[in-house]
Symmetry: C2
Amino acid sequence: MALTIGTLARATATSVETIRYYERIGLLPAPPRTRANYRAYGQAQLGRLSFIRRARDLGFSLDQVRTLLSLSDDADRDCAAIDRIATAHLEAVERKLADLTALRRELKAVIESCGGGTVGDCRIIEALGPGSD
Amino acid sequence: MALTIGTLARATATSVETIRYYERIGLLPAPPRTRANYRAYGQAQLGRLSFIRRARDLGFSLDQVRTLLSLSDDADRDCAAIDRIATAHLEAVERKLADLTALRRELKAVIESCGGGTVGDCRIIEALGPGSD
DNA sequence: CTTGACCCTGTAGTTGCTACAGGGGCTAGG
DNA sequence: CCTAGCCCCTGTAGCAACTACAGGGTCAAG
């Protein structure tokens, strides 16, 4: 009935080392052990790890995941705190998108300036420095 | 005439620690020292550091910057190697943009599902886990 | 002659893992 | 009973690209 760490890893598309790492930093509780000192996980742990992985896939930091987990333990609590974390994260994602979009534009401009000759004529290098190197 | 590390830092919007770090990893050559053992930089170093910062701002890794710097030293070389690095980086940026865009869509869907009640009703938590935690 | 801003070296911390090294256990085949 | 091959254990070190001290030295101004 109990899952070994390898089985849990395959079930959640996580590496065994990552699971042990999550335990070390207190994100996953230390499970009971078998006689051979193997970790023995139950369904609750599988659910918790799935939650963590899904949140990580959505780009939440481990610290945010920790907070989300502790908030989700209390079903009677106001949902606003959770919404605040998610919205803040969405805003961070949108800032990153804007940054990356600007970066792509600049990068394209730099690349297009290259005519294909020698480095001496290449505008990529020129575009990067102020010319005094 | 020579610049102190603090002046160079302000001129390139870099922190003093970062400049020392670049020196330690061999990205910036070790400059001559004053009698007081202070680093004394010239215009060439200013240009080189500007180049590095600009490339970093465009998202190139320090390893790519290292390669770009060594390629740019040789003005007679074919420009294709430089173009290859820049194009590969652009492709990486576009992959990242696609990933972030998908993530934003998912995140928005999760947030919109929250009606504003208690955690028990909150769809954000529900959306994250398989429900068995 | 002291204050405060700067500089020096060296080391340890950050995030989120990943990769060993060096050992033990468990099952199946010979 | 022995061995092969897989899985598990702990503990430590490494990655990128910085950042943040601690504990000192230097220098110009008042």
